[in-house]
Subunit: 428 residues, 4 copies
């Protein structure tokens, strides 16, 4: 991981690039909350999501626990109770408040959490300005990790706000923008072929990556083809209208049980209108289904069932990475400010980055030779390597500079509140 | 019910007593919320409680649905979605948002609900000032019911705030007052004897009462004795220290199962301190157990088990009412502003009113000849006449002018987040 | 309780009446199992029921634990593990195997349990033949209690077999009898009036009763009327066809929630036929609904809702007992061998005894002055005096000599697998 | 899969090898039930297991539904209700009785099911003797599949009996044999090294295999080492005594949650003795822990945690198969009649086959190019390819002629009632 590189970012006297990035990212977190009312910071509408104020505090606690407390001499903890409240899942860092109950806490208030952010942010800046020489590398690595961690939570923040709003009968909109309309129709789906062979995947070198992307290693691929773009709402609608949610032969066993027990009839956030059409809820509120936009908020089970129905399959994560690595990191990211997936814009292999995370058929498992980070930070990724599937490519809520071809995201097969989508593959 | 009296309160030109009361009660609801942060209005820490902002809106909806919509010509509904959100349990008034999910709604905001309160309050005042002659009695009766209803919710508001705060590790205080300390020790427990015979209980006459207090009727009592005051924390502690929570023979079967499954070892809001003593949480925050205060936040099961341990029993509701009816309506009510039960102050039969609701051994059942209110308001009380036990006398969160000797409160035997306490009785 | 009478049954040299009864009842338990296959003895199709073999063993353990172990010198326990397995709910007699898991035990086998019955039965006979003088009364009382207890379990056995069979798609019949058909139509429902006043209810004197029927005491009744017979299936069908299960205003709140959550649309064991008619499952198997038979297998909620729909109410238990006490103990009991409720046979007040237990509107609470039995047997009845409602009169699975006018049965308001039915009442 | 080979077994006039095998396997199923009492056939002590009589009927239904009904002209279904009762999970073959409720059915009786077995067995023999030429290959393939399917259920039968017996406080023994004791100590653990490279795994050729073992394909291995034998109880005990179940850093996140929520402190069927030692329950009943036997009844989580504690990892399924394929199919299988895992007997790579299924670190996913069987039989394996992990090598309850190097078994990571064990691996 980032242990291989002594200085992830060249430091300059005064305002270093790392400090720049730290300040920019911290500010962006708060900017993402600007459209919220105080009440919106409190709620947790399902066990999977967290209240926005919890995200604000947790990302701050991360710097306090892993950077300031071990390395900033004389640092005064803001509030001794916060470690208990805002530790997410680091078992070795002490007991933490139960996740499903995060939405039951009205205190600390948003104002107090903002003061907490200020307090910790100032201390990190202070530390960056007076780096102790003996731990310089470790501190910089950990601050960098804290920044990347906060960017991940920016995405979670948007996912969670969307979910919280979606269950409210008032159907609040996060922001009132209009999704830009396409001048041209979505390009036809085509198939890009890739020859097989031994290829390398995973991260190498001195740039930042998470531990789960390492080590870079060889893997064997067979000839395969990838669909040139994401599957659209219109295409997915054909699956629904072909009784896709009622044909058991299309589904994995666990998927079928989930469809039955939860009464799924469409992706999350779709709803039947009174006129028989379909509506869709997203961060711009409730509106008619955008047929040319990529289908979003699918579980693995649904992505897999659609692929079976279409006579295709999902890509493997190695196939995906092999295809994506040479592509430029272009796409519709958090940076666009839209926070919506957009229709494919051009012919050729597109949408690999941004728009929607793409389900792969790969279980989330350690790479050969995987070594987790030492100590508590080893819990960051490694302990989740079971019962989850890998998604690739980032989404419209991911910051562009957070993304890499080797980036491995992972969710449970039944999860679908994240910005997940679907690209098809087939054997060549 | 209150249908028997054409004008519950004499009306005067201009500002009538009813309008006075309406305005006072509405204002008091808001005053009770003054110590809250915006975040505090949102949370619902268990299925039994409701978010404070829900109480603010629901009591307002009650006037809108039962007074303004049927009787105020030209009234414009504030927001058509609110009926769904703020109907509590009136099935015949339309579908309502599920109770256990009230804490998942950040919108409408507190500010919007305050506007809703203003809008509805103005319309009620307007209606009171221009009463249509043909429905005058019905309107006045319903406004009076709405006022009493809102007073009930004032008590729920305090109960629910206490519960919400209690599960927060930060242990917030609702208000920072100091409980007044007693100059004298709690008077010794004595036994006041009452001869049996045929007595009358229940409400009669033209004053306000709920339908469940009627009709006034005869019942047969045997000679009995009542304890002169509530059982104290010190006395209850002796029960705990005598292994009260571990001796199955002291408990009803359902009670024992509840003790086991919930791990009860003391009343709600008690906690073990590190020094082995007991702490107590109440609206003033966390502090040491007040030994001379009456034991509070007991379930029926605990009250019953304590009585069995003490070789006594709980009073029947007819016994209680027969004993309490001649007593003056004195006591530690909401009006004191303390919102805490206080130690018994004087010799003789005391604490019947205020301080804490007293569990009786009577199931909540209809009085002979009971008739619920007609229409949707018939759901107010009657449909709960099963699976609950009666409590009597009001508490430190009940407004004094809301209380009557015939007042019947009711909770499930396992409930204990309300201000419930315990008075002993025995056969004479 | 039976503590008031030194010799409940006059003893004769040799074969005493008590010994006769003991042997007859023990044999009848086994005879009731004669139609079963070995497999039928094992299953427990819901948490409420017990496997037949458990009943066989538990009634035997009752004699072992409460008669033989304390009083039979030199008695050897059959199997030391059985106390754990076959104690039902006597907490003070030691830990017991969890009730919901009784159907998970294949061992001991039925053959072993029969040997256990023989072993214990022989020892009780032996003890009866050589009664130690100093404990004679206590022993006889306990044997009598054991006999009554076993009779209660005969009824449970039939209830539980019916439930176990009902969930089996093969719809097995317990016995293949044809229900006798009525020559005459069911007599019209009439209303028998009873004047109110102070009356006595409860058991007194030296005959056997349970502790919960004592002490006999005065109570005050108002003038009332009872329906002359049980409500029939045809009458209940009219309630269903009038949308009884879909009209919320007819139901108690807990009842409505139960109807919704369990999807009730009819009494237990009714089912829709493909032709739109109704079928009914009982111990004779699956057949068309018998319209003139009394409606059976109702919860309290359904009985209460029907009464509300009919503009009546359920009787109070004191009303019922006051009306029933002068009536002869005639009726369709276990002794008839039918184990089915029959249509009312004659004009006038009928069906008070036998056929079906009649729900009352009385909560199951202690009588004034109630004293439970001392020691572990005090758990027999008293600890259930909460959360249940009283039923009266016995049923077609109750032995006639087990019944008394003062007999109090009790179930939870949502229970309906027992032979429960419905008689209407009203104020006069 | 077996579709590629026209005649999996050479047929002879008269008694063919396939008919031999059919009869032998059917008889063995019944022989495995010989130690059972009738009552033992009925119970289902957890949702995962099935009652023995269900296994007897289900394996029979498999032949009826997939062989006789489609191919045996004039075949008369034994009982039309049985398809509903004994279909396991073939959704496209019609609705089936819910799996968690299989233990609630006392009927059909064991005797009826034996008649069912006879009826179907006779019809299969009859069909084998008069094979219709046009479907000969398909019929033979399906009979062969039915045989392999029944062998799988023989293993499930033993697993399920063990579980059912384990929760019974009487601790019944399935058979009273003594586990053979070892003359010599367990050989020391050594590490066998295998060079990496492109290797082939999966099944090819005309012999029988399941569809999930196909197609044979290339995969890339890195140099690795395998432990020469299974981990023993003694070795696992060291993990426990080193606080293995209390050290969160050793566990996957889901594993830790499972350990906490289920209170795991040792493998399934271990129990603390009063003297502080460990006992073990198996098909021979309750006895002291056999220290030299391989540790059995582990979940994936436990196997993974042990490996982490030991500084090793679990093998990948391709590593395992590559190492095992050249080995002779020797081992302690069902055929030994012991149904217990035995201590390793010899130096060198051992225990790959038989004794215990070995957890791999491979998720159960389709091989590249995987095609499920057509039609309903496609549900046999493919629909479970999610949320499960692969185990390899068979166990002491697997028939030797059922096993292949390419055989893929799969369970959920939290399952542990099967005969699962643990072999370590490491990177070379």
């Amino acid at each position: 991981m980032f242990s291989g590189h002594p200085k992830p970012v060249p430091l300059m006297p005064g305002h270093s690039p790392l400090m720049d990035r730290f300040l920019v990212v911290r500010t962006r977190t708060e900017a993402l909350c600007a459209p919220l009312e105080i009440e919106d910071y409190v709620v947790q509408a399902s066990m999977e999501v967290s209240p926005p104020k919890w995200h604000l505090a947790h990302t701050t606690w991360f710097f306090e626990a892993f950077v300031l407390q071990p390395f900033a001499t004389g640092y005064k903890v803001f509030d001794a109770d916060f470690a208990h409240l805002f530790n997410s899942y680091y078992e070795t860092a002490g007991a933490f408040f139960p996740r499903p109950r995060r939405g039951l806490l009205s205190r600390p208030t948003v104002a107090q959490i903002r003061r907490y952010r200020q307090h910790v942010g100032d201390a990190v800046v202070e530390l960056l300005e007076h780096l102790p020489a003996e731990a310089e590398t470790e501190i910089l690595n950990r601050i960098l990790l804290g920044i990347e961690h906060e960017i991940q939570h920016q995405e979670l923040l948007l996912m969670d706000i969307l979910f919280n709003f979606s269950i409210n009968p008032l159907k609040p909109a996060y922001h009132a923008i209009h999704a830009p309309s396409s001048a041209a129709p979505v390009p036809e789906m085509r198939w890009r072929e890739f020859p097989g062979g031994i290829v390398e995947i995973g991260h190498a070198g001195s740039g930042f990556s998470y531990d789960n992307e390492r080590p870079r290693h060889e893997t064997l691929l067979r000839d395969f083809r990838l669909g040139t773009r994401l599957v659209t709402n219109a295409e997915y609608l054909a699956f629904i209208e072909d009784d896709g949610y009622r044909r058991v032969d299309l589904w994995l066993s666990d998927g079928w049980n989930t469809v039955q027990s939860r009464g799924w009839q469409a992706p999350q956030y779709w709803s039947r209108c009174e006129d028989g059409g379909w509506g869709q809820f997203d961060l711009t509120g409730q509106h008619a289904l955008r047929l040319d936009a990529p289908v979003a908020h699918l579980s693995y089970y649904e992505a897999d069932a659609y692929a079976r129905w279409a006579g295709k399959r999902l890509p493997g994560e190695a196939e995906w990475e092999h295809a994506a690595a040479p592509q430029p990191m272009d796409g519709n990211f958090l940076d666009s400010g839209l926070h919506l997936p957009l229709p494919a814009q051009r012919e050729g292999l597109s949408q690999l980055y941004g728009d929607l995370w793409e389900w792969t058929q790969s279980a989330y498992l350690p790479y050969p030779g995987f070594r987790p980070l030492p100590g508590t930070l080893g819990e960051y990724n490694g302990k989740f390597m079971c019962d989850q599937m890998v998604l690739r490519g980032g989404c419209c809520a991911t910051a562009r500079d957070h993304m890499r071809a080797s980036y491995r995201n992972f969710f449970r097969p039944s999860d679908r509140w994240m910005f997940s989508g679907l690209r098809l593959a087939e054997d060549a």
